[in-house]
């Protein structure tokens, strides 16, 4: 697996944040976190643990991709979604476009790792213009390619938790990332807390305010 490079040609994260609204990023984070939970319950409730572990990865990936299409529909004014076939037609991947940003998602062991080789990722990385002085408006037809990287929290029960969710920017040739990144866990700690704290959905207790008796005439 390739490792990240230490060079930093430009602040891709700034371009990214200029084009992708925070509401969209919050929605993507929710979609990822919820998909981890859903995949875990769907697999572990219906299979033996070993088979569930094997199945949960592909299930989760497809659940996330399916929800990302939903995110695209939710924010259709700013995002367009494409459900694309792999070059050899052996599967699909979802590609979101938001202004000059094109984005896909991948599950990796850590945010410094690269997803496995895929033609579409390399093609997308080729089309980016990650050079100093990159001005999106002056480079029609060119995009900033971003990958939403997320990974399993090994300590969570039945692989139901996500350990990180970061947006990273592969450099041309898909051999390294820029140094900067957008850390969704740091950006939205309350959403992360919502998904890690089960008691958040517990019923609130509402007691009735005490009533008082009307005093009889002369008693008051």
């Amino acid at each position: 697996m390739r490792q990240e490079s230490s060079d930093s040609p430009l602040m891709a994260s700034q371009v990214f944040l200029d084009h992708v609204p925070a509401g969209v990023l919050a929605a993507m984070l929710r979609a990822v976190l919820q998909s981890y939970k859903d995949a875990s319950s769907a697999c572990y409730e219906t299979m033996r643990p070993r088979q569930a572990k094997d199945a949960s990865g592909p299930f989760r990936r497809n659940k996330i991709e399916s929800e990302l299409v939903g995110v695209g529909e939710r924010f259709q004014q700013v995002i367009s979604v494409e459900d694309n076939l792999y070059k050899r037609g052996t599967g699909n991947y979802v590609e979101l476009t938001c202004g000059v940003v094109k984005m896909t998602e991948s599950c990796v062991p850590s945010p410094k790792d690269f997803p496995r080789d895929a033609d579409y990722r390399e093609t997308l990385a080729e089309s980016t213009q990650l050079v100093l002085g990159f001005v999106p408006a002056e480079t029609p037809g060119k995009y900033l390619y971003a990958i939403l990287l997320h990974g399993v929290d090994g300590t969570a029960k039945q692989r139901s938790g996500c350990r990180f969710a970061q947006v990273r920017f592969p450099l041309k040739g898909f051999a390294s990332y820029t140094e900067d990144r957008v850390d969704l866990f740091a950006m939205f700690p309350s959403i992360v807390a919502e998904y890690s704290d089960q008691s958040a959905t517990a019923d609130e207790v509402h007691t009735m305010l005490p009533l008082r008796v009307i005093p009889k005439i002369g008693e008051a």
Partner: protein, 384 residues
């Protein structure tokens, strides 16, 4: 000479019959008199003899003094029924009668305990013609009420409690009618809003929408009169407005949309636990707010039906149904502060223990505790 029942109030018999959904013929058969006799009792032209009177009391589970109490001549705003088109006249009469009894007992209790005063913004509309209210106005009034009650923008964990604390009487009672969800009205001249929910609907999320819908009638339809309500096209508009108010009140646009991360049934399923409203309602709200177009709405509805959620949605059995507590609390306060015993409340209000328990959810243990208390009053000594 045949003995009658002096002071028998015919209107009470008619109301009891309606509260049970019985025809005069059916009642006549049950108490073993002619149909004509029933009409005469109801009109006050005659009264039942002791045996028939006893049968009437047993049948309707009322104490005899209920039928001897003067019938209150109260005013009321028009009643808003939340019902399916199939709701029969019998079902409506049944609900009306029980609504009226509820009011009678609460009126009695309110002479003894201080109930929370009605706390609604003075800016709520006073329009007689619903056409003068736009849907944007309705959204605005719902938001204004949230602000007035300091509810913030988030989910309301217990709508019943919020309404009770702001002086709206809420009760859940079985109306034995699948076609009727709720009924509400303003009691006049004391100006107290009452909402009666049909407890036959055992679904927390849907029941909350029923309640929010009635809250809409209470707030924005105060000045609507009976004539307007009886015009079919205006009634449809009034119902739409109440639905819009309820949806906007339970799901305020900004906060709700911040939570909708994806247009998918699974995403809405997640939100159901947080917002405590049905998935079906969220789909409609998204359509109303133009977040989804008619095509997306149709797709979601098809998926919704194919998951068989029309009969039962996820978490329907897990979300607890909100139970009113105000009137129960009033009973407890009266009994625990020893102002009156439960049996006295029953005797003075005119309603039997059965009706106090079933109609107003009077706590059954209050009556049981009194029995225990009476046992203790008579200590027996062992023989020497």
């Amino acid at each position: 000479m045949r003995l009658g029942t002096p002071g028998f109030i015919g209107t009470r018999l008619r109301e009891s019959r309606e509260a049970y959904g019985l025809s005069a013929t059916a009642l006549a058969e049950m108490v073993k008199v002619s149909k004509q006799a029933i009409y005469q009792y109801e009109k006050g032209d005659d009264s039942p003899g002791p045996e028939v009177f006893e049968r009437i009391c047993l049948l309707f589970k009322h104490e005899p003094h209920f039928f001897l109490r003067p019938y209150p001549n109260w005013q009321e705003s028009p009643k808003f029924f939340r019902s399916l088109a199939a709701a029969t006249k019998t079902a409506r009469l049944k609900a009306e009668a029980r609504h009226s009894w509820m009011r009678e007992v609460i009126n009695y209790l309110s002479e003894i305990v201080v109930l929370p005063p009605v706390n609604l913004p003075k800016t709520m509309p006073q329009v007689e013609d619903p056409n003068l209210l736009s849907m944007e106005d309705v959204e605005r009034y719902a938001a204004e009420l949230r602000r007035f009650w300091n509810l913030g923008d988030g989910p309301i964990p217990n709508l019943t409690r919020v309404m009770e604390q702001n002086g709206i009487i809420v009760l859940r009672h079985s109306l034995d009618a699948e076609t009727l969800d709720a009924v509400s009205a303003w009691a006049l001249p004391e100006n107290i809003p009452y909402v009666l929910l049909n407890s036959d609907k055992e679904c927390a999320a849907r029941s909350r929408l029923d309640l929010a819908h009635e809250l809409g009638h209470v707030c924005i339809h105060q000045a609507i009169n009976e004539t307007t309500l009886n015009k079919q096209e205006l009634f449809a508009l009034i119902e739409k407005q109440a639905f819009r108010f309820g949806s906007a009140f339970l799901l305020p646009e900004k906060a709700f949309l911040e939570d909708v991360y994806s247009i998918s049934l699974d995403a809405l399923k997640v939100l159901k636990r947080k917002w405590r409203v049905s998935i079906a309602m969220m789909i409609e709200r998204l359509k109303t707010l133009e977040i989804i177009d008619p095509d997306q709405h149709r797709r979601l509805r098809i998926a919704y039906v194919s998951r068989r959620w029309t009969k039962e949605e996820p978490f329907d059995r897990e979300l607890a149904i909100e139970q009113p507590a105000l009137i129960q609390s009033a009973f407890r306060t009266i009994v625990e502060s020893k102002v009156q015993r439960a049996e006295q409340i029953s005797a003075n209000s005119g309603f039997s223990r059965h009706w106090l328990e079933s109609l107003l959810a009077a706590p059954a243990e209050i009556f049981r505790d009194e029995v225990k208390l009476e046992m203790k009053v008579l200590p027996f000594k062992k023989r020497a």
